[in-house]
Amino acid sequence: MQTATVFSFHGGIHPPENKAQSLRLPLGRPSLPNELILPLGQHIGQSSRPLINVGDKVLKGQTIAINNGFLSSFLHAPTSGTIKAIEERPIAHPSGLSDVCIVITPDGEEQWDTLTPLQHWNTLSKTDVLAYLAEMGIVGMGGAGFPTQVKLQGAHKHPLTHFIINAAECEPYITADDMLIREKTIELVLGIEALQHLVEAEQVIIGIEDNKPTAIAELNKVLSDRLSTIQVAVVPTKYPSGGEKQLIQLITGKEVPSGQYPADIGILCQNVGTCVAVHDAIFLGKPLISRFTTLTGDVLKAPQNVEVLLGTPISHLLDYAENDSKKLKRLVMGGPMMGFTLDSANVPIVKTSNCVLAASKKELPQPAPEQACIRCGMCEQACPASLLPQQLLWFSKSQELEKAEHYNLFDCIECGACSYVCPSSIPLVQYYRHTKSSIREAREAAVKSDLAKQRFEARKARQDAEAAEKEAKRVARQKASANKTTDGKKVAPKVTPATAAAATATPAGDDSKKLKIDLAIAKTKLKKLQKQLLAAQESEHTEEIGTLQLQANEQEKAVALLEEQLAKVEEQLTKAVASAPAASPKAPASDELKKAKVDVALSGTKLKKTQKQLAESPDDAELQAKVAGFEKELADAQARLSKLAADAPASSTAPKAAAPKAAVSDELKKAKVDVALLGVKLKKTQKQLADAPDDSELQAKVAGFEKELGEAQARLATLTSQAPVAQPAATASAGDELKKLKIDTAIAKAAVKKVEKALKKAEDLNSPELDTIRQQLQDAQKRADDLEKALANPTTVASSAAPAASAPASDETARNAEHIKKQKIAAALAKAQINKLNKRLADSPQDADSIQLEITAAKQKQQDAEAQLTQLQAQLTPSQDNTQENR
C-alpha cells in the first residue's frame, strides 16, 4: 500500500455532508417485495431484449433479457418467481416517463440458478472475460450505467497509465460506497485486481475522500495484508471531487481534453460498486442483481444503507426505513446536488440507483424566488470546470447560443455548484440544460438545412446539365434533319417518290433510334428515383421524400415527352415508309390498333386505381411497385398504340391515289388541332391531379378529357385514313414533307423558346455560359426562320413533288413526258437555288437585298417552269383519269 500524491481542482463547494445519518445503522437487508420491476433500459444504450414470456418461472440469477446491440446489457432475475407482466411502468428517470419493465412476482424461495464462476479467468483470453462480464449484466454503478465491457474495451485504445477506482462519493447524504467498502473490502480489492488484469494499467489508485476514515482504514489494512501495489489517494472533501474529470485531475493532475474520454489520455475510471460486481461475477458467478443503496432524509426514522435487489419498488424501501409519509415533500433519486426528483415512490431501484433521499419541506425547502444576477462571481469561484457561469447565464437568457457555446457551455458537467452558491437563487444548471438542448436542436437543424441545400444545389446542377444535354442533342438532331430534308427535297424531283420517302425515312429512323435510347435512359433514371423514393419513405426521411417525389415527377414528365417525340418520329417514319408504293395491309393493323387502345385504356384505369390506393397509404411498398408496373405497362401500351396509330393511317395512304381532298384535309387539320388541344388540357389536369390526388372532380375531368381525346384521336385516325385515300400519292408525299417541315419548325421554335428561357435563367444567374446560350439562341432562331420560310413556300414543295409523283402515272406521250421532265428539272433547279439562296440569306442577313433579288429571279424562273408544267399536266389529266378508273 502506498499513498499517492494528490493535486487540486478549481472551484468546488463544501455543502453540509449529512452523511452521518445513514451510517448510524448497520447494512440493512429489506424483505422481498410483492413484485420486482425491472426496466429493460437500466444502462446507457439500447434497451435489453426480454428472453422470457409472461407466466414463465424464473430462477434467481437467470438471464431474463439479453443485450440488444453493442452498447447494451444483460438483465437477470433478482429472485426466483414468476414473470407477472412485461409492460410499461413508471421508472426512475428525470423525464418522469414510463418504460417497458419485466415484472416478477417472487415465490419467496430465492432458488438460485446454477452459478458457474469463471474459472481460470487469469488465463482466459481477455475478450472472453469481457464477454462474460457483459453476460453478467455489469454496468457502471456510479451513476451513468455505462456497460462495463464497452468501457474496458475502450480503455485499450491507449496504454493505460492510471486505473482509478472512484470511491470519492462527494455528494452529500450518500454513503452507499462508504458502506460497500467497509462491508466488502476484500471483494473490492479482488475485483480491482481482476479488472487490473484485464486493463494492465501502470498504476492502480483508489481515490477516496477524507471524510471516510473507517473505509480508508479497512482498505489500507486489506491492501497491506495482501502486499498490494494498489495505492490509496485520500482526497480532501470537496464537492464534486467524485466527478470523473475532477477525480482524474485530483489524482493525476491531468485534464481530460474537452470532448474526449479519459481513455484518450490513458486513464480508466471505475466505481467501487462496479469492482465488487465484477468480483461477484468472476469469483462467485453471480450476475448483477443487487446493489448498495443509501436510504436517507429526515422523513425516514431509520435512515441506513441497504443491499437491495434490483427492481425493488422505492415505496417498499421507504416503508422498510420507517417513512413518515405525511412529512415527505421531496423524493430525490441520487444526491441533493445532481439527483432528480421522483413523482412517486412506485418506481424501482435500478443498477444505477445509489441513493434515495426522502426529504421534508424543512430539509429541502422550496428554492427561493430567483433574483437578478449581480455578477458577484461566486459561481465562477465555485465552478470546477473553470467556466464563467454568470456569462453563460446571460447568454442563456438572451438565447445567444453561439456565444454560450463559445464560452464552453458544453464543458459544463451540471454538478450544480454554481446554483448552490448563487446568492440570487438562480437555477443556473437548468438554464444551461435548456441552452444545451437548444444548441443541439439548432445544430441538428443546421445539419438538416445544409443537407437540403446540398441536395437542392445538386439537383439544380443535374437538371441544368440534363437540360443542356437535351438541348445539345436537339440542336444536333435539328441540324441533321434540316440538312437531310434539304437533301431529300433536292432529290425528290429526280427520283421516284419511294426513294424520296426513303431518304426522309433515314433521318427519321436515326432520330427514332436516338430517341429510343434517350427514352430507355430516362426510364432507368425514373425507376432508380422511384426506388430511392421508396427507400426514403421506408426510413421516413421527410425532406428527402419531397425532393425525390419532385425528381420522379420530373423524370416521368421527361419520359412522357420522349415517348411523345418517339411516337411522332415513328409516325413520320412509318408514314414515309408507307408513302412508298409498298403498302401494308390495313385491316389487321386497324384491328391491332383497336386492341392496343383497349390495352391503354385498361392499364390506365388500373394505374389510376392503384395510384388512388397509394395516395391513401403512401408507405405501402407493394402498391408502389404495382404503380410502377402499371405505369410501365401503360407506357408500353401507349407506345404500341402510337406506333400502330401511325402505321394505320400511313398504310392506308399509298395504295389509294387521287380523290377529292380539300374538305377532308380541312377536317383532318381540325381534328389534329382538337387532339393537340385535348392533349394539353389532359396533361394540365393530370398535373393538377398529381398535386391533389384525392380531388375527385379533377379525376372526373381527367377521365372526361381522356375520353374526348380518345374520341378525337379516333376521329383523327379515321380522317387520316380517309385523307390519303382522297389524295394522290404524290400529294401525300408532298404533304409528308410539308408536315415534316411543320414539325421541324415547331421543334425549332420550341428550341428557341427553351434557349431563351435558358438565356434568361443564365442572365439571372449571371452565368458564364451566357454567350454560348446567346449563340445557340441565334442559331435556333435562324433555323426557325429558315424553316418558316420554307413552310411559307409549300407550293414549291408540293408542286415540285406533284409532277414527280404523276410521272409514273403519265406514260402517255414520250414528248410530253420529256417536256415534263425538262420542266421538272427546271423547277427543281430553281427551287434548289431558292433554298440555297434562302440559306445564304439566313446565314448572311447583311447581303439580304441582293440575295432577295436573286431569290425573286429564281422564283420567277420556277413559276415559269411551273406554269408550263401545269399546262402539260392539263393535257395529261385524261390519261390520269383513266389510270384511276383502271385501278
Binding site: 455543502p15 452529500p172 474529470k245 481530460v256 421531496r330 458577484c376 456569462q391 446568492p423 440570487s424
Partner: protein, 352 residues
C-alpha cells in the same frame, strides 16, 4: 402526497442571498463611517440618512411605475448600498439637495432605467457622484478639515452639521478646507517639499486624518475579503497599479510628484478600491478581467489626480473602466477544464 418536482441541485448555500451580500458591504463601511464621523462630524451620517431615504423612495417610485414587486426589490438592500456609498463619498457639509440629486440620479437613471439590479452598465453611485461633481463643483469641494488646522479649532457639531446641510451655516468657511489631494493639485509649480511645509491641507494633521479614514476602509475591505463577498483581484490590482505608477513618477521627479504612500492614503483610494471598484454588476467578471479592470482604474486615478481637472479620480476612473469592462471580459476568459488555452475575444465558430 404531492411531491415537489424541481431540478437539481436541491440545496442551496444557506443564508447567503443577494441581500446578505449587500448588507455585508454596508456593514463593512461602518469603520470608515465611524472614522469619518469622528474626524469630520455628523455630516456623513446625516448625508447617509438623507441618501437612504431618497434612494428607497426613488427605487420604490420607479419599481411601482415599472409594475414590479416593490418590497421584494427594496429588501435586496442594493438601493440602500448605493445610498450609503454616496453618503460617504459626498462632502459632510454638502447641501441636502445635492445628496438627493445625486442619489435620485443614481437610482433612477443609472440603475432602474437600464432595467434595475444587475443590468446597469455603470456604477450607479459613481454616476450620481459624477453628476453632482460636474453640476455643483463648489459645494462638492468643501470638505471639513482636520480640527487642529481649522480656524474655528473644532469640527462642526451635530446641529451645525444639520444647519450646514439643510439651511446655511454662515461661518462654514471656518470649518472647511481643501483636501490634501486638492491642495497638492493646486500647489502649481511649488516643489513638493515646500508644499508639504507651507500648505495647510498638506500638514501632518490633515494627512493623518485621511490616513485614518483610508485605514478604516481598508479594514472594511479586508472584512469583505474574509467573508468572500469580494475577491482580492480588483482592489489589489487597483492599489498596486496606483502605487506602481505613483512610484514610477516619484522616481522620475521626486521634487514635484507625490509619494506612492500619499496616493494610497489620501482621497478615496481605499474606499474606491474595496467598495466602489468591486461593484460586481458593472465591473469585469473573470478573475483575470478583474485584474485588468482594477489596474486600469488605478492608472486612471493617478492620471486624473495628476493631470486631470479634478483632485480625485476614483469616480471617473471607475466609470471609464465600466465602459471597457465588456471588452475586457471577452479577452480575459479563464481557461476551461480540458482546454489547451483560454479563449480570447469572440471568434464564433473557432472553437477548439
Amino acid at each position: 402526497m404531492a411531491l415537489l418536482r424541481v431540478t437539481s441541485p436541491h440545496t442551496q448555500r444557506a443564508g447567503r442571498r443577494t441581500s446578505w451580500v449587500m448588507l455585508m458591504v454596508i456593514l463593512a463601511t461602518v469603520p470608515g463611517i465611524a472614522m469619518q464621523t469622528w474626524l469630520f462630524g455628523w455630516g456623513t451620517i446625516i448625508n447617509i440618512v438623507i441618501a437612504a431615504i431618497a434612494a428607497l423612495a426613488s427605487e420604490a417610485l420607479i419599481l411601482s411605475i415599472r409594475r414590479r414587486a416593490v418590497a421584494f426589490f427594496l429588501k435586496d438592500y442594493s438601493a440602500l448600498l448605493t445610498a450609503v456609498l454616496l453618503g460617504i463619498a459626498l462632502p459632510p457639509t454638502v447641501a441636502w439637495w445635492v445628496t438627493v440629486t445625486a442619489v435620485a440620479f443614481a437610482i433612477i437613471f443609472a440603475k432602474q432605467l437600464y432595467g434595475g439590479l444587475g443590468n446597469n452598465p455603470f456604477n450607479p453611485a459613481m454616476v450620481g457622484y459624477a453628476i453632482v461633481l460636474v453640476s455643483f463643483p463648489v459645494p462638492m469641494t468643501q470638505w471639513v478639515g482636520a480640527h487642529e488646522l481649522l480656524s474655528s479649532g473644532a469640527i462642526p457639531t451635530f446641529s451645525q452639521s444639520l444647519q450646514a446641510i439643510f439651511q446655511h451655516l454662515p461661518n462654514i468657511d471656518s470649518y472647511t478646507m481643501a483636501t490634501p489631494l486638492d491642495a497638492f493639485k493646486h500647489k502649481n509649480e511649488l516643489p513638493s517639499a515646500e508644499a508639504f511645509n507651507t500648505i495647510d491641507a498638506l500638514q501632518t494633521a490633515s494627512l493623518n486624518s485621511w490616513l485614518w479614514i483610508n485605514g478604516a476602509y481598508l479594514l472594511g475591505g479586508v472584512m469583505l475579503l474574509w467573508l468572500r463577498v469580494i475577491t482580492w483581484h480588483t482592489p489589489a490590482a487597483l492599489l498596486a497599479a496606483l502605487a506602481a505608477i505613483a512610484g514610477a513618477f516619484y522616481l522620475i521627479d521626486p521634487s514635484h510628484a507625490a509619494t506612492p504612500l500619499f496616493h494610497l492614503t489620501t482621497g478615496a483610494a481605499m474606499f474606491g478600491a474595496f467598495f466602489i471598484a468591486t461593484d460586481p454588476v458593472s465591473s469585469c467578471t473573470s478573475n483575470r478581467g478583474k485584474l485588468v479592470y482594477g489596474a486600469g482604474i488605478g492608472i486612471l486615478i493617478y492620471i486624473i489626480r495628476t493631470w486631470g481637472g479634478y483632485p480625485d479620480g476614483v469616480a471617473f476612473g471607475v466609470l471609464l473602466m465600466n465602459f471597457a469592462a465588456p471588452l475586457i471580459d471577452y479577452y480575459t476568459q479563464p481557461r476551461t477544464y480540458g482546454h489547451q488555452k483560454a479563449k480570447k475575444g469572440l471568434k464564433i465558430g473557432e472553437d477548439n
